[in-house]
C-alpha cells in the first residue's frame, strides 16, 4: 500500500524521454542524496551511459544502464557527453546567471513612512535588462497598517556589473487595515503608483542583494493624494 502510494507520481508521470549522457571521465561518482554531505555509493565507468531523471539545485538524479539510481553533481556531469560527442551544458548558478536568467524571487525588509515593511517579490525577465515584477508588501506601524500588491517594470542598466543600478516604475492596490488618524475610514482600498531607484549586488552562487528607494503616490478618495517614501533592503535569488 505504502509502496503503491509512494510510486504514484512516477506512474502518473508516465513514460517520458530523458537526456542520455555518456561518461567521458574515468568514472562518474553517484551519491545517495543531492548534496556534498551524502556518501558516494556507486560509480559509473567511462563509456557507460546514464539517463538524467531530474535536477534538484546543483545535483542530478541519474539512472545507469543497469538501473542503478544516484545523484551526480553538476560539475561532474558537465564533463559527460551526449551521444554525438558534444559536451553536456546546462545553466549554472554563477555570475553569468546573475546577468542572464528567467526568474528571480526575494524578500525585503524596510521602512514605509515610519512603519515596518515586509515584502516579497517575484520577477520575470524579458531580457538581461528589463524585468516585470510582482510585489506583495505589508506595512505595520503604530499609526497605520495595511497591504500593497503591485506590478511594475524594472530596467537594470548594467546587468554584467556586480553592482548594477536599476530604475523601477509601476502601480497597484493599497489597502489600509488600520489608520489611527482616520479611524472611521470608509474606503480602505486605493490605487498607488511609484517610481524607484535601486541597486543590485551579486553575492555568490544564485544570491544577490537588492536595495531600493521608492517615491510613492496614493490616489486617495479624499481631496488630497498622499506622497510617501519607502526604503527597503532584501535578499534575492535567480533561477
Amino acid at each position: 500500500m505504502l509502496c503503491a502510494i509512494l510510486a504514484t507520481p512516477a506512474a502518473l508521470a508516465g513514460k517520458r524521454d530523458y537526456v542520455q549522457l555518456f561518461v567521458a571521465e574515468p568514472y562518474l561518482e553517484l551519491k545517495t542524496g543531492p548534496g556534498r554531505g551524502y556518501p558516494v555509493t556507486q560509480v559509473v565507468a567511462r563509456g557507460e551511459a546514464v539517463d538524467v531523471l531530474f535536477r534538484r539545485t546543483d545535483y542530478f538524479k541519474v539512472r545507469t544502464e543497469r538501473g542503478v539510481e544516484g545523484w551526480a553533481s553538476v560539475m561532474d556531469l558537465l564533463k559527460a557527453q551526449y551521444a554525438d560527442g558534444s559536451n553536456f551544458s546546462i545553466d549554472l548558478g554563477d555570475r553569468n546567471g546573475f546577468r542572464t536568467h528567467s526568474w528571480e524571487m526575494g524578500v525585503f525588509a524596510g521602512d514605509f513612512d515610519g512603519a515596518s515593511l515586509v515584502s516579497g517579490y517575484v520577477a520575470r525577465s524579458f531580457n538581461d535588462n528589463m524585468k516585470l515584477e510582482l510585489t506583495g508588501s505589508q506595512f505595520i506601524g503604530d499609526q497605520r497598517s495595511g497591504y500593497m500588491l503591485e506590478m511594475g517594470l524594472a530596467q537594470v542598466f548594467a546587468p554584467e556589473w556586480r553592482w548594477s543600478p536599476y530604475v523601477t516604475i509601476g502601480g497597484g492596490i493599497f489597502r489600509v487595515q488600520k489608520d489611527l488618524q482616520r479611524p472611521n475610514l470608509v474606503d480602505r482600498n486605493d490605487e498607488t503608483a511609484y517610481i524607484g531607484l535601486g541597486v543590485r549586488y551579486y553575492l555568490t552562487r544564485r544570491f544577490f542583494v537588492r536595495a531600493e528607494g521608492k517615491e510613492r503616490v496614493i490616489f486617495t478618495s479624499r481631496n488630497d493624494n498622499e506622497e510617501l517614501t519607502e526604503w527597503k533592503v532584501g535578499l534575492a535569488f535567480f533561477f
Binding site: 509512494l6 507520481p9 517520458r16 524521454d17 530523458y18 537526456v19 545517495t32 542524496g33 543531492p34 548534496g35 556534498r36 554531505g37 551524502y38 556518501p39 538524467v52 531523471l53 531530474f54 535536477r55 534538484r56 539545485t57 546543483d58 545535483y59 542530478f60 538524479k61 551526449y82 554525438d84 546546462i90 548558478g93 524571487m105 524578500v107 525588509a109 515596518s116 515586509v118 516579497g120 505589508q138 505595520i140 497598517s145 487595515q177 488600520k178 552562487r205 544564485r206 544570491f207 535578499l235 535569488f237 533561477f239
Partner: protein, 244 residues
Amino acid sequence: MESRTRVLLLTRALVAATLLTFSLSGCAWIKGIFGKKKTDEQEQIAREQTEEQEDNAAAPRVIDPEVERREIKRPAIDTENFELGAYYGSMSVEDFASNPVYGVKAVYHVTEDFFFEANYGKTRLGKTSFELLNPGVDPLNLGSGRPFTYYSLSVGYNFLPGEAFVGRKLALNSAFYVSGGLGSVRYAGEDKFALNFGAGYRVLPTDWLTVYIDVQDRVYNSDIFGTTKLTNNLEARIGVTAFF
C-alpha cells in the same frame, strides 16, 4: 659603270625578293603555329565532352543530396526545487496558553545548502489567567473565535546532511536545518511585525516526499495589556511536503 649600276639594282631586287619571300613564309608559319594550337584546344574540349557524355551514360547519379537533415531535440531536464505542504502542531502564544496550530509551507531550494521558505499558519488564543479566574468575562473583547494568524518569509540553511537508518536495510536521506526570517502576526484585530527563528529535522522517504519536525520562535512586541513587551511564542510542528 652601267654594268655596276645594273648589278647593284639587281642585287637590291634580289634582296627585296628574298625578304618578301621570307616575310610571307614567316606569316604563314606563324599562322600555322597559332592555327594548330587552336585546333588542339578544340580537339581537347571535344574529347572531354565526349568522355563526359560517356561517363554520364555509364554511371547515372544514385545519391540524391536533397536528404532532409534530422532535427535532434533533446528532452528538457525537469527541475524539482519547489516544496509545498502542510503542517500541524502546537503553538504557545504568550499569556494565551497553548493551542493546536496548522498551516501551509512553501519552500524553494536555491542551492544544496540554502533555501527560502514561506509559512502561513493559524491557531486560536487560549484564555488568559484573568479569564480563567473570572469565568464569563471577556475584558479584551476577543469574541468567540479568538483567531491568531501569522505568516513568515525565512531563509534556511541545511547542515548535517546524511542518512537516517531505519532498521538494517533502509536508509533515508535526512538533514538538520536552521531558519530565520520576518513576517507578521495578527490577533485581536491588530497586526504586529514579527521575527522568527528556529530549527528542524527533515527526512525524505522518497525523492519527492519530505516529513519534517521543526520548532520556531515568533518574537513580536505585544501591547494588548496596555504596556508594550517583547513576547516569545514557541511553535512545534510536524509536517509533510512534496517536491515538484
